[in-house]
Symmetry: C2
Subunit: 683 residues, 2 copies
Amino acid sequence: MDATATAAPAALDTLCVNTIRTLSMDGVQRANSGHPGTPMALAPLGHRIFTRHLKHDPADPAWADRDRFVLSCGHASMLLYSLLHLSGYGVSLDDLRNFRQLHSPTAGHPELGELPGVEYTTGPLGQGVSAAVGMALAERVLADRFNRGGATVIDHRTWVIASDGDLMEGVAQESASLAAHLGLGKLVVFWDDNRITIDGTTEVSFTEDVAARYAAYGWQVLHIEDVDDLEAIDAAIAEARTDEARPTLVVTRTHIGIGSPRQDTPQAHGEPLGAENVRLTKQAYGWPEDSDFLVPDEVREAYASVAERGAEAGAAWDEQMARLRAAEPELAAELQRRMSGTMPDGWADDLVATQFEDAGPAATRQSSGQAINLVAPRLPELIGGSADLAGSNLTTIKDGGDITAADASGRNLHFGIREHAMGAIINGITAHGGLRAFGGTFLIFSDYLRPAIRLAALSKLPSIFVFTHDSVYLGEDGPTHQPIEQLASLRAMPNLLVLRPAEANETLAAWKLALEQTDRPVALALTRQKLAPFHYGGDSRLEGSSVERGAYVLREATGGTPELVLIATGSEVHTALDAATRLEEDGTPTRVVSMPCQELFVEQPREWREAVLPPTVRARVAVEAAATFGWERFVGDAGEVVGIDRFGISAPGEEAATALGISVDGVVSAAHRTLATVHGEAR
Amino acid sequence: MDATATAAPAALDTLCVNTIRTLSMDGVQRANSGHPGTPMALAPLGHRIFTRHLKHDPADPAWADRDRFVLSCGHASMLLYSLLHLSGYGVSLDDLRNFRQLHSPTAGHPELGELPGVEYTTGPLGQGVSAAVGMALAERVLADRFNRGGATVIDHRTWVIASDGDLMEGVAQESASLAAHLGLGKLVVFWDDNRITIDGTTEVSFTEDVAARYAAYGWQVLHIEDVDDLEAIDAAIAEARTDEARPTLVVTRTHIGIGSPRQDTPQAHGEPLGAENVRLTKQAYGWPEDSDFLVPDEVREAYASVAERGAEAGAAWDEQMARLRAAEPELAAELQRRMSGTMPDGWADDLVATQFEDAGPAATRQSSGQAINLVAPRLPELIGGSADLAGSNLTTIKDGGDITAADASGRNLHFGIREHAMGAIINGITAHGGLRAFGGTFLIFSDYLRPAIRLAALSKLPSIFVFTHDSVYLGEDGPTHQPIEQLASLRAMPNLLVLRPAEANETLAAWKLALEQTDRPVALALTRQKLAPFHYGGDSRLEGSSVERGAYVLREATGGTPELVLIATGSEVHTALDAATRLEEDGTPTRVVSMPCQELFVEQPREWREAVLPPTVRARVAVEAAATFGWERFVGDAGEVVGIDRFGISAPGEEAATALGISVDGVVSAAHRTLATVHGEAR
């Protein structure tokens, strides 16, 4: 058998490459679904990276100083799964055989958390290459802090394989510009230049000079003329390593579906080759035609070197850590704490201790800025910034300094007017570990980064998004800037917490909760306008607010037995309080419920939910200066929702809100309607 | 008074420019809100474009062959409003005085439809410059069709002023690449290179070589070193006109807040200058310090030339139209029909006549492709395409040909993997008039173009979005590709119709409805998997389906008096039908309601709504393979929703759906629960 004959080094590499190619073909063929052509094309690159250049240890996939490898073209997942299998990660041949099947970790696209060695969830194009910018940034920030005492404990690269589609996507263009701006010289992106898209050749839609574009951003641009030339791969990588001031794009010429009858055609992209084509391709490779998921022994032996290299690298790192521990024991402990995702003792003490009994009105964006700055001194891993709205989002860590190309010791990031890249980069920083990151913009522009928010939610990444100017109360900027449906559309997303605090106390509690999350992102919705703080009267703000339970009784009805419940979030809790005063004056015992987080409330045990919203009280009004969509679940059939089911209006905030029906009068009228409904039913 | 002294030509221009500057300052100051610095900086450019270069006729702002002017940096709205006022559009001085006030058309950001002369809603950065690509594309397509018989009836340019932020946004980068690819040589973008962002100088986040980037896309790049040099503006525009094969970027150096104490600072961007600074600035301009909204007579006289130029241009066009009318009367009539937004007689005949009584199962994406091709021959203004998924979205107009740089006679667009630009470009084509445009991608990637969908909804543009692969039934591609919350989040958006047809008949009706819209966009959600057609048994498919009423009784309960109503959309209508069969076998008279469009159903008169969902039948189950969010409004307190409130799973479609609870069993169980609830209450 040709394929498994004892091989000279070059022949052995060919054997390895063809193993990856045939595993990928077989996986897709068996699933009868998937993308064979790209794994086949990229097999030499993946092989060379994993066996020669990637610093990784399959025995310790969470190793802090490992290189990160991101397959941004996630549809080529069989490439990654094959490499992980061969390299000794916890991916079995059976996992490969079960590619894309129910409950198999080898999902259609790689999913973070499903398999060791998968560094990021990819598939939605542009996301991986952008998150990689966050990973490379995290490396720089951590290296700056922890490489002390003669020890080099953080020194790794971020490798990306990206498709045409990745480079066409806006998010990737935003993040590429920022990567160069920040001088992320340890980021290397291989562009799979196969000149084929789903709709045909790239001539159909993609004729720009990609290399010149990346040079314009400030990247080093290198070329591999033929991906099958393994020495050329090595040479490009060696060259990439020489420039640590600029990220590197390696234009890598490949041939999709190489060796198959469908080579260089769009048909090789997204469908199985078919049994006959698989056979012919294996024939062309000199591979046993009827083999299935064949891994020759020589290939297994060759890949054993990955574990050896990994063990050596791990041992070298242990030495560096020992050096750091000797020179800077606290720093060494901090690094280990941070990489484990553990919060430092007392991190929230200043947040918890802060009282607002005597404070004046403050916008919740101001309270958010206060929260950030109360936490920042005790939580050194916290970094963040804004998409050019720092002064409006109030996201700046005071005296934190900026993170720039020249200096990574700061804590404030300037994302520019690149909301989508911000989202992906925040996710990448979070996925990297060792840091907690937040990013701010106006709530309306959450739409711009929505795919990144979704990826955080899907990947269980506790990214924090700070969305200010959260309603029509922002005023004159008008309907282009006034969020209406954003709250509902974020709430519809699984595994995302949407927190809309009503004033200072709730805002601090919301930030505490946001930072406590380990497996889901948080979106904070914060006001532009000032709001008076609540006076709970208890010992503790946090006990008073119960933000962590999603909703709580803020003001009980006179007499303790409500006939009516008003439910509100954010600034409209104040509207509800004023309406309750009026309604009580008119003789209706009215409870006011503050509901900063629908998702958390829904998660509570029935006892809590029914204690807050008693099933017997069917007269309910929800009020929120936003789309009413989704509020029925809390007010029920007899209830009313006071909201805004149209676009906003350009006018001073109060006038705009009143014109759109958000007012004490509006809530009182709705209350009368729901009371009439309930009384009518009772008759 | 210096300012109003009789002026030599250059001095007169200065007077005009300072009028725009002071109107802008005064407008922002009076509103005590807005962005003064950019209108001040760009006043010379706006002045020169509006008085010398823009082909427009304020007396006929809807003129088909006018140049389009898009102020992509919509926050500089006072520049546009001032120019419209001076040029004789229907913008009064009082409108300027009421800038950003309730019910004033001079909204914080320009809104399409609010004022004549506003060509696009701008403010969300990157949208205007991308929609302008659509406008320039529409011009090429229309010119190709209508410049016949020796007549040139379509020959206009698209002018854009864009900010740093516009050029940083991913959507603008995507659309810039496509603009060059399509050779849109009549598109001219002035980049307001003021080197200031909100967070500081552009050095903070934007250090790329923008000119080189645009050159890499394939743009002509020109420079204006000083925007106050009016001859340099003229020269750049003359140069731009010489190259009709490439779009042009004009790097225009400006000084934000010029002449004010805040010149060249971020403070000049987004807040009023303050009364004292306004005074000092007017002093620096040689302007009466205490003037307010002053328009010198000479300026009024100078701007009278705009109307004269407009009338001349209009007369010249009338001649061309007369020539076309003589040579090609039907074409002339078609142009006028199309620009008026009127559909041709009989456009839907083939759609209406198509019957599926004997057809086999088809995915609704297939039926959608059929609808497009049934309509296309009768609706020449219909063009569209896909973001590199034409073969999956089935958006191709057969024999329509491609629209390319070399040939604009085709009907199919290839957007590349640029979903966001696709959305903005579809909007721009639609805003231009004379064409109806659609764009396709997977439903999951609706997230990528969400800001563009919103802008269509806000601007009342009937853009059509074709979203296929609309649920977990797409199968193996897994959670990164399986939409969950997308339907809910689109439904939460005001003024958008979300149509999820259940099979072939409904799909054709949905397309008819989509094309009938004049003031709102439509999102079609279509299946990957095949579904059997309904057999209504009536004369007409369209009468049978009642898609236009949002929901209808698809199958009545045995005996005509339902105890239970099942409500479903799309593929899950079939699940509901199967469940109804089971439930009826078990003795529960069950009605099945197909609800392809929640929004249209909610708009119906109460009689229809209660005829479909009788208030007396409180046992209701909604089933949709998507987030349950928002369904409570239809099922009520006693009802149940069968949906998916988690992310999807990679497996063959049926297996994935079943594992996630979407099945006949799931619906039957939910039916038993709601029946138990209702019976329990009745006891």
